[in-house]
Symmetry: C2
């Protein structure tokens, strides 16, 4: 593949992103693909090298967390101090393992505090995009609860001790700007936070809303006959990994029979856009189409989060997933690498909708956003678990839509 | 010094702490000084070794942060989207460098969202106390603004990749419990958070309150003639360092002429208690005695935070500090180590009070808490700076009061 084609792909991907950015006068300059040389950094500079866990996500494994928080949970369950005990089943497991937000009744007339915090190690090498992705993903926890307004955002930043001063001065302001731009796009502002030094680079935040109880959707209301909708394609982490392997011949050799360099670059840009896209419209439409609950899919993967959501249902239901929409070619790459997980870090919403509303939901989201959503499964009678069928249908999602 | 005496000191310090803990049935068991062997860990296990920055605090230096956030600040200052621009001077500099909380007006009738986030690397080797200290210090940012009610607390935890499974399973639940107990003591609960793996162990949180504007005190109202009150003695970091040097002969030799092992152990326990003590009563009394503003003293030291507070004043004033209350013997240790900073990590409030109210404030806090507060300086006419006089008076504060 020649240079011309590569450039062509990058420009097209860039064009698509620029269309989305709209009013921000800095958007054009910022949305050129990040070129370390243009900032007087070494050509080999890679943001993703400032953490060792990128491929695995930064979360403590679910079973370890369960063990660690056991003591705390018991304590809360037996506590008589909590008049609002019905909130506790949502709130406490959130220490890394449970639902997406904590909900706290406030002293002031009927209002609730809805909060979430999340942070990440670099997933992509473009600092500005990494900032956007981090902010979008913190917000996604609110959106999964049907909360579309964020009242305040705090930013949590860890500056790697391994960065040179020069690298730090280039990269950190770009991350901050990406984070801030995403917050503005979501109609909120970053009013504070904390910046520390840390061996690994970290970026995250705290999203907070004060709202009335009808503004959020408690995700425990699935009924037999509902269907499951997914708002973003899987395979983002695979695309990010494959893109890094373009630099690593021994890795690249493992996948080059199933994918071209152009496919990988396209998929990578699609993945970045997808991760940076807000789930806000998806969240707003949850109210319109009477969603029975949702979760966002993050470090524990599609199945892991589906299982958590299933376990919190009031009714005796189970989730069965038949279809896996995946960024084009990334299913083949995952297979060539020994069934790499498709569902990590893709940050779509998994939404439980009444069957008769789901098609209209998908149509509406496509009309408003220009991106597809998919019906991927059903809700059956069951014991509050989730599974993917043996041979799910893989839906190839073009890198550009 | 013999073993008996060491044990004696530990028991006394323990007794004092137990008195404070009151109702918690687990308090006695938890408040024995942390003994790694009792948990099947190596005798040499030290929590503070799971981060390299403990002595220096974890903050990015102030001048570096100023540079990094420059771009963001400009942006906000020129923005026309913010109807509440008068909040912005407080809010944005909080990205590591400014005042203690962000204050955001809410959509709902006259209420404000007051938030702060902070996190720390291990400062002390006792995991339970480290949890308490972290929570107390997150809350301290609210208390510095006169906000005495915390509506919600999130916990942010980084589990060190260098811990063995055994170490993790012992230490992390103790940290969580300390954090939670401190939150309960403050009348709030930990409803969520995030736990990640990270090279260094980190512990912190997010404290949030929704309140009416009269519940917080904007710290910009100092007038000439006011005095400055400090609510905790300096020298906590010195005590923590000296305690670690008991294990390190070459370090210990540098200070053993000015301090005994018993002095160090006493000072260390005083420092832990002091750091874990809530500034909540100090905060409540700020309203009663008409405080003109306050800040809590953290990673940037007494002078650094005094300067920041001075720079935010509406009136043309400056702060002059004459007195330095220091945990007994720690001024001498600091001097023996080449003028080590006394003001780091001590987490007291520096409060600006009308002259005629200050003595009553100090008396009231001592009556309610059993701990002294000190008048340490005055407010003069000036250009919004702060200084410590050439030869400040060092007030030796006994390790037990």
């Amino acid at each position: 593949m020649g240079d011309y084609q590569v450039t062509g792909v990058q420009q097209d991907a860039l064009g698509a992103v620029q269309l989305e950015l709209g009013g921000n006068p800095n958007a054009l300059a910022l949305r050129r693909p990040f070129d370390p040389l243009a900032h007087d950094l070494e050509a080999s500079f890679r943001l993703t090298r400032f953490a060792d866990l990128k491929g695995r996500g930064c979360k403590v494994p679910q079973e370890v967390l369960n063990k660690l928080v056991e003591g705390l949970q018991q304590d809360y369950n037996s506590s008589s101090e909590h008049e609002h005990a019905h909130f506790m089943h949502m709130a406490i497991p959130r220490i890394g393992i449970g639902l997406d937000c904590s909900v706290t009744p406030l002293r002031h007339g009927g209002l609730c505090l809805v909060q979430t915090t999340d942070f990440f190690y670099p997933l992509v090498d473009d600092p500005y995009m990494m900032g956007k992705i981090a902010c979008a993903n913190v917000l996604s926890d609110l959106y999964a609860m049907g909360v579309t307004e964020c009242d305040n955002m705090l930013m949590l930043l860890g500056v790697s001790t391994k960065m040179t001063e020069k690298e730090r001065d280039v990269v950190i302001p770009l991350i901050m700007r990406g984070f801030k731009d995403s917050a503005l796009e979501a109609g909120t502002t970053v009013t504070g936070g904390q910046t520390v030094v840390n061996p690994w680079c970290t970026i995250g935040g705290v999203a907070t809303t004060v709202c009335q109880p009808n503004e959020y959707i408690v995700p425990d209301n699935a009924v037999v006959g509902d269907v499951l909708v997914l708002t973003k394609p899987l395979g983002t982490q695979v695309a990010v990994n494959a893109h890094q392997w373009l630099d690593q011949p021994e890795r690249w050799n493992r996948i080059k029979l199933v994918v071209s360099e152009e496919d990988v670059r396209k998929a990578y840009h699609r993945a970045m856009d997808s991760m940076a896209r807000l789930n806000r419209i998806a969240s707003r439409l949850m109210h319109k189409y009477n969603a029975h609950g949702a979760t966002d899919i993050t470090g524990f993967g599609l199945l892991g989060h589906a299982q958590t959501l299933a376990s919190h249902q009031k009714n005796e239901v189970s989730f069965v997933i038949h279809n896996l929409p995946v960024i084009a070619k990334m299913a083949a790459v995952a297979k060539a690498c020994g069934n790499m997980s498709l569902g990590r870090n893709f940050r779509g919403l998994l939404i439980c909708l009444p069957r008769e509303q789901a098609a209209a939901y998908c149509k509406d989201i496509e009309k408003q956003e220009g991106y597809q959503a998919w019906i991927i499964g059903i809700v059956e009678k069951g014991n509050r678990t989730a599974r993917i069928i043996d041979k799910p249908r893989v839906i190839e999602v073009p890198a550009k839509e």
